[in-house]
């Protein structure tokens, strides 16, 4: 029987392989195969093909390519670019001015595109030149974009939640409902930081500008329509109870396709480019996810969940102490692991603990997504930091890192908020899904 030290050794091996630059999927596969052949015998590993087929022959996970394709259509149709301009009209009167447009645009754009890199790149490219002449504090500008772009994995439709749901048998609909309130609260906390900073030191923000004429601003509102309509339709279909997340994603794809056609953006080339992005992104996600499913399976057969459960129960930790330990653990992992790899790689080990301590799986899913968001902006590997710095193309990445610090603190505050007030997460799923 496997011991806790052997299991820890396996986990360390996983981290070492990943750190040496081996592909994340391979690292998970190698550790699982090594464990399986050592403890179950080599013939057991030959069942890998069946495991691989059943991990990807999955009608929940098929929502992943559908949501990616939906996002591709909205982005390539130019709907998300226009959204930024319209939001700028309505949010810039707040203290901190255009900074709020960054946050609002990031939240909306990321929610529909599902890609944090695409969000940071698009909002960054549209926004950064606009700030150059206006005398805003550079760090705050960069921080709002890098941090804002992480909001998309918390606000549904979120791909991370589909994968968490598929791996832990948690309802994706409940996870989506669970993410909405924390997503809104976190966006407001981000905006609050900007307001506070600009109240205390008005020099951080540029001078107030005269708003565009009301007629133009109202006309601009129409640009918010298409993305919001798709979002509303997808969510409405799920909570109206007449579609699963997969079905509503398909509905969203068809509607987004129609919108592209109406705007005259539909072409074979555009379709093919969308397909290629979709295939590539889905494959990167599923290669890791399928490896994690296999890891999950092997650990299960080896009795690791039981082992961990007994070990953790023996420690007599409270739920709160465990969450503090996990938060530190994820903060450290997030400093150097890819966000998705961190989530799927740790679920097989961490989820049994969560069940043993009777922590709500929906609550934990939202918590885990918050930790993944943090991983996107914690140096040295925070993806978003580099994307924003890359678009800026001058200065030092230190300014981006300084810029995200206040937002990082807000994310940790958010974790504390959902801990002390779990209803923030759990009230909406209970309300819409019973």
């Amino acid at each position: 029987m496997i011991t806790i030290s052997a299991a820890t050794l396996g986990f360390l091996l996983l981290i070492v392989l990943m750190s040496l630059g081996f592909h994340v999927a391979f690292a998970m596969f190698a550790v699982s195969i090594a464990g399986a052949s050592f403890y179950l015998g080599v013939p057991a590993t030959l069942e890998y093909g069946t495991q691989y087929w059943s991990a990807t022959n999955n009608s929940v996970l098929v929502a992943v390519p559908l949501f990616v394709l939906l996002g591709e259509f909205l982005v390539r149709g130019g709907f998300t670019d226009r959204m930024y301009r319209s939001l700028a009209d309505w949010l810039s009167p707040l203290p901190g001015g255009l900074l709020h447009s960054n946050l609002g645009a990031c939240a909306l754009f990321a929610a529909v595109s599902g890609s944090s890199v695409a969000t940071a790149a698009t909002v960054g490219t549209v926004a950064l030149p606009a700030f150059d002449k206006r005398g805003y504090d550079q760090r705050l500008v960069l921080g709002t974009i890098a941090a804002g772009a992480t909001l998309g994995i918390l606000i549904p439709p979120s791909i991370n939640m589909i994968i968490y749901g598929a791996m832990t048998n948690t309802s994706v609909g409940r996870l989506y409902a669970g993410g909405i309130v924390p997503g809104i609260v976190l966006t407001l906390l981000f905006m609050g930081v900007v307001v506070l900073a600009c109240r205390v030191r008005p020099a951080l923000a540029g001078p107030k500008e005269a708003p565009r004429p009301l007629v133009e601003r109202l006309r601009g509102l129409a640009d918010l329509g298409p993305p919001l309509a798709v979002f509303g339709l997808v969510m409405g279909a799920i909570y109206g109870g007449w579609a699963t997340p997969t079905e509503s994603a398909a509905l969203g794809v068809v509607v987004a396709l129609g919108l592209c056609a109406v705007r005259g953006r539909l072409s074979i080339r555009m379709l093919h480019e969308s397909f290629l992005s979709t295939l590539s992104i889905t494959a990167m996600i599923t290669l890791i996810t399928a490896a994690a499913f296999y890891l999950n399976f092997v650990l299960g057969v080896m009795g690791v969940p039981d082992l961990i459960t007994r070990f953790v129960t023996g420690l007599q930790l409270s739920q709160g102490q465990m969450i503090v330990i996990l938060t530190i653990f994820y903060l450290i992992l997030g400093c150097f692991l890819d966000a998705l790899a961190m989530v799927v790689g740790t679920i097989p080990v961490v989820f049994p603990i969560i069940l043993a301590l009777k922590i709500d799986p929906v609550w934990f899913g939202i918590y885990l997504v918050l930790m993944a968001e943090l991983a996107l902006i914690t140096p040295p590997v925070g993806m978003n930091l580099y994307v924003v710095q890359g678009i800026r193309g001058r200065g030092n990445i230190r300014e981006v890192i300084e810029g995200v610090l206040p937002f990082l603190l807000m994310m940790l505050l958010m974790v504390a908020l959902i801990w002390f007030w779990p209803k923030l997460v759990l009230a909406l799923p209970a309300l819409v899904m019973g």
Partner: protein
């Protein structure tokens, strides 16, 4: 893709791209079919069993075929934070080792995938609701896996050749995709959208 820098990739990429585009059409067709099914169920009470099964097949095929395209474009996720700080010669070796390992993984998956079809044929299994024999979706799935393995093996052999003959280019061709490269493609797409907007 005339500026595709990798000589092996110049052959592999168009093949993976063509198959991937075909699968893309299948995803779109599946979306339309699912939408028709939802509307039919809602408005006319017509229900078609088996969309779940179809969805599972679509994902399995997307994942396998997409893996070959992502492989050709070296998109599969790696952690580069420590790697890029190591001495150059070590990076060359590690990049080659990573590729060989991934090729081994892909080859193993394709080999065991073959066994899955063997078993399906032996028991003549079929999807319970759709009624189609399972070997049909499974052979498309296996085609993707084989393509993935073939590209991974070709890249690994190429990297091994470069390493053993002391030629340059391993890190540029087979190192982890840098953020700059990823950003570059994102910005190109944005530029294209802007041109369309102003046309």
């Amino acid at each position: 893709m005339s500026d595709f820098p990798n000589p092996v990739g110049r052959v592999a990429e168009p093949i993976a791209r063509t198959v991937s585009i075909l699968v893309g059409w299948a995803i779109l067709a599946f979306s339309v079919a699912l939408t028709v099914e939802i509307v039919g169920r809602k408005l006319f009470g017509l229900s078609f069993k088996g969309m779940d099964e179809l969805g599972g097949f679509v994902l399995a095929i997307t994942a396998a075929v997409g893996a070959s395209y992502a492989m050709a474009m070296r998109g599969h996720t790696r952690v580069d934070v420590f790697l890029v700080r190591l001495p150059r010669p070590v990076q060359r070796v590690l990049n080659t080792l990573a590729l060989i390992s991934l090729a081994g993984f892909a080859g193993f998956a394709a080999w065991r995938g073959w066994a899955v079809i063997d078993e399906t044929l032996e028991f003549s299994s079929s999807a319970p609701n759709l009624g189609i024999p399972l070997w049909v979706p499974q052979s498309v799935w296996l085609t993707g896996l084989v393509l993935f393995a073939a590209i991974a093996i070709a890249y690994a052999l190429h990297a091994l050749f470069l390493l053993s003959t002391g030629r340059p280019g391993i890190d540029a061709l087979y190192g982890p995709l840098s953020v700059e490269e990823e950003l570059h493609s994102e910005l190109e797409a944005l530029e294209a959208r802007h041109q369309e907007e102003h046309r």
